[in-house]
Symmetry: C2
């Protein structure tokens, strides 16, 4: 049987340390790197990131919005960046935060998790507003291919707290109920364990849900610019299984480019600090 | 001052009746229409829909997932379909259900609501899981251009009810709190009234929130295949302002293609039935 997504991540983390490096070609960063704000600029930025991060971090995370803002030309650049990441042995999470129901959700799953798609990635971030059950087509396709679906549960921004802490009729908060549902999927609800991961901001108070039973990857944005530190990460994710936590650095890291060597050194340093913090 | 999105929709509905026609080129429908499951097939399907719907419905809604599943080639087809809808005088809602925070949300806004983008539409559907406040970059850009942002609040699928009815610390349910926040934005929170709309499934019990004060468009999927009828729509949305409710028909309508004349007649008939039901 193929490894589940969590196992693939754990193996990669064992090699390099735990970190997800964002690939966020915003207009600001393209300008700072001396690149044009065009599809060619997106492509050059993304390929430089892949070159810098290969071998020093386990996972990269292209932020789809920054490619999509240039329409089909931007998406073509993203296809090349994803292919380059695959060739370089990097795991790639498409940070697209997709979500829908039925055949529409199946179409998103096909776009990002079908190996025949030009946009295929190792995992896709998704939005659970329409219920975790609505995401089933993505969960099934991911499990079948040893890929992952990463559910936004506790986001790093303050505007999300009211909704995410609302109390469901079953008792737990929205976010705790989702975490419990994810844990159930990883421990038998899907044919491949470790298929489902979660997003938990590195800027929050510790989760009420015991993360030691999650069975999947924790993607932790908010590290760096938004205020999360290696110490926050150590405290928040103390109970998580080894190799499952991926603090995600984007702007703070990318602002050390465009020199590929410097960017690689920054990533290596940060990844090593996180390895020490997470043990 | 430019008309807000709700005013644009109301004017268009006054001409043709209230209905949103989906453009959903699923593999199944492409096959039924005798079209290849390729970017060319997507393009032909979308352009035929625009030809059929122009002048008989006020609004079309391309379902982005069905284009995205073919990567950049699919997105290029969508660009052409959106441009054709504009030329034909149809309002277009990009049903993309995007959502994120900060500069990432601004990038999605730029993709779908900036007139310079090849993907620009008249409105964009969005996911509120990270809080309505996180969507501010889209709200601001939409208001500035007389475009709309349509927030998924009460989705038509059963898997979403637990989350959407969870109770916030402030008292109301998640969905009612969102509806109240949308109403506040439309009545002064944004410079242009009617910028923010909502998705409310045509399959649900009536909303606890009084929709007469919403001040924005209600997009109502679930009509047709999912079980919503003209009678459901009449009951659910009795209190809404005239011209603001857009029941959305996709598979049921599109399965009457591929003949453009037949598809146009089906759309006209359904739109007239909805005009009678909604008064």
């Amino acid at each position: 049987m193929t490894d589940g997504f969590a196992m693939k991540v754990a193996k990669a983390v064992a090699g390099t340390g735990p970190m997800c490096a964002g690939i966020d070609p915003s207009a600001d960063l393209l300008g700072a790197w001396g690149l044009p704000d065009t599809p060619d600029g997106l492509r050059a930025f993304g390929l430089a990131c892949v070159e810098a991060f290969a071998g020093v971090v386990p996972v990269v995370k292209p932020q789809v919005a920054f490619f999509e803002r240039m329409g089909s030309g931007g998406m073509a650049a993203l296809e090349e960046v994803l292919a380059a990441a695959r060739s370089a042995g990097l795991l790639a999470i498409a940070d697209a935060k997709r979500g829908d129901i039925g055949s529409t959700m199946a179409a998103y799953a096909s776009a990002w998790l079908d190996p025949a798609s030009p946009l295929v990635a190792d995992a896709l971030t998704v939005m659970p507003y329409m219920g975790l059950g609505a995401l089933q087509p993505a969960l099934d396709l991911a499990a079948a291919g040893g890929r992952g679906v990463i559910v936004v549960t506790r986001s790093s921004n303050p505007e999300g707290r009211s909704l995410q802490t609302a109390v469901t009729a079953a008792g737990p908060s929205v976010e705790d109920q989702l975490l419990a549902e994810v844990a159930a999927l990883n421990s038998g609800g899907l044919p491949v364990p470790g298929t489902v991961g979660v997003v938990i901001g590195a800027t929050l108070e510790p989760s009420a849900f015991d993360l030691s039973g999650l069975g999947g990857v924790v993607l932790a944005p908010g590290f760096g610019v938004q205020g999360g530190t290696t110490e926050t990460v150590r405290t928040l994710f103390a109970g998580c299984a080894p190799g499952t936590v991926l603090p995600s650095a984007s702007r703070s890291l990318l602002s050390t480019g465009p020199d590929v060597g410097t960017l690689r050194d920054s990533a290596a340093l940060e990844c090593e600090a996180l390895r020490t913090a997470l043990g």
